[in-house]
Amino acid sequence: MVRSGGSSSKQMFPDLSDEKLVEMAVSGTPDAFGEIVKRWDRKIFALCFGMLGREDEARDAAQEAFIAAYRALPNFRGEAKVSSWLHRIAVNQCLTTRRRNRTRSEDHLDEETNEEERTFVASDHYSPSHTAERGERMSVVRQAVTSLPVDLRQVVVMKEFEEMTFQEISETLEIPLSTVKSRLYTALKQLKSKLEGVSVEVV
C-alpha cells in the first residue's frame, strides 16, 4: 500500500524530478510514488472536479486515478511527461465515471471502491499544515483575482460566485456569448501568470 501524506507534508524527495520518482517507484523504492501523489493530488483533484463538477465524485475519481497510475507504473515508458500521463489517467477515469453515472444510479457508485486503496489520496486534508497552506494559497488567489481588470474580474465573479451560465452573463452584460467565454479564458490565463509569480511555500 502506498500512503500519501498530502500535498502539504514536507517533501521527502524535494530535488528529484517526477520522472526520476517514477523510476524509483518502479524499482521498488518506498514512498517514491507517495511523493508523486503529494505533488499532484491537488491538480488531479482539480481536473476531476472540473470534469465531474462534484467534490465527492472528484475525490473518488482522483483516488481511483492514482490507484490506476500505481498499477500502470510498470507500463510507463517515459515518452511523455509524468503530469501528462497522470492527466490522461485521470481524464479517462472521469470519463468512465461520467458514463457510469449516465447509466447507473449514484447510489451504486461507491460500492466498487476498495476501502484500503482510499488511503492514496491525501488523508490529512484538514491537518494544520494543510490548513495553513490553503490559507496562504487563498491569499494569493485573492490578490490575483482582485488585480484582474474589471471586465475580466466581472466575468469571473459572475461565473464562479454568482454561478450564472454563459448565456445569462451574456444577456446581463449585453455582450456576445463568445466574448464572455473569451474574457473568462483570458482571466484564467492571467490568473495563471499571477499565481506562478508567487510561490506558495509552507514548511
Binding site: L47, G50, S83, F166, S178
Partner: protein, 224 residues
C-alpha cells in the same frame, strides 16, 4: 493558442468545464479529450485555475452567512401633532389646563354665536311686513354738533334740516308704498332718532336748495 485551432476551442473547454456542453457536442468533446494529450494538459491547467478560484470562494465566502436584508423605515421627524401629543403626554397638568381653557373658549364661542343669532333675527324681523315702517328722521334741532360739525355750522344747517325733513316726509309715503305695497297705510310710523344711525358722510346735513327734477314731478303728482 495554435493547439486550439487544431483541437478544441477555449469556448468548448470552458463550456465543458462548467457543465454547459450538451448532446452531440458533449460526446464529440469527450471523444477528442480522451485521445488528445495536448487538450488534456490544457484542460487540466484550466481546471486547476478554476478550482483555485472555486476553492477561494468556498473557503472564504461560503462560510459567511447570507446577510438578511431588511429595509428599515426611514425615521422621519415627528409631525407637529405627534410632538404636541408627546409633550402633553409628559405634562398632564398642562393637558388639564389646556382642556379647561378649551372648554371656556368653546362656551364663550357658543354664547357669542347665540347672541349674534339673536341680533340677526331682529334684523330679519325688520322686513316683516306686519311691523311698522321705520322712518329715519335727522334730528338736527338739538343744536348738538353732528359728525364733527362745529356749532356755527350746525346752526346754519338748521333750516336746511327742516327743509330736508319736509322733503323726506313728502316722499316717505310713496317710498313706503313702493317697498311694502301690502302694508296698511294706517300703520303707525315709528320715528327713529337720526343721530342713532351711523353716518357715512355729512353731505345730507348741508343745505341743498337746488331744484330737483324728482321734486318737480312729486309736486306735479301731488297737485294732480
Amino acid at each position: 493558442m495554435k493547439k486550439f485551432v487544431k483541437c478544441e476551442s477555449p469556448g468548448q473547454f470552458l463550456a465543458y468545464l462548467y457543465g454547459e456542453l450538451n448532446g452531440a457536442a458533449l460526446n464529440a468533446f469527450e471523444d477528442h479529450l480522451s485521445d488528445c494529450t495536448t487538450c488534456i494538459d490544457e484542460f487540466a491547467e484550466i481546471a486547476d485555475l478554476r478550482y483555485s478560484v472555486y476553492e477561494w470562494r468556498k473557503v472564504e465566502f461560503d462560510p459567511l452567512e447570507t446577510p438578511v436584508f431588511s429595509i428599515e423605515a426611514i425615521e422621519t421627524p415627528p409631525s407637529w401633532s405627534e410632538q404636541f401629543q408627546a409633550w402633553f403626554g409628559q405634562h398632564t397638568q398642562w393637558l388639564s389646563a389646556a382642556s379647561a381653557f378649551g372648554a371656556v373658549v368653546i362656551v364663550l364661542t357658543i354664547g357669542i354665536l347665540f347672541y349674534s343669532a339673536g341680533d340677526t333675527a331682529d334684523l330679519a324681523a325688520v322686513d316683516d311686513p306686519s311691523l311698522p315702517a321705520v322712518i329715519v328722521t335727522p334730528e338736527r334741532a338739538s343744536g348738538t354738533p353732528v359728525g364733527g360739525l362745529i356749532e356755527d355750522e350746525a346752526e346754519e344747517a338748521k333750516p336746511s334740516a327742516s327743509a330736508f325733513d319736509e322733503r323726506r316726509n313728502l316722499q316717505q309715503p310713496k317710498t313706503s308704498a313702493r317697498k311694502t305695497p301690502s302694508r296698511q297705510p294706517a300703520s303707525p310710523a315709528v320715528t327713529v332718532s337720526f343721530r342713532s344711525v351711523p353716518r357715512l358722510n355729512e353731505f345730507e346735513d348741508i343745505q341743498d336748495d337746488g331744484l330737483r327734477l324728482a321734486d318737480m314731478f312729486d309736486d306735479i303728482g301731488s297737485s294732480e
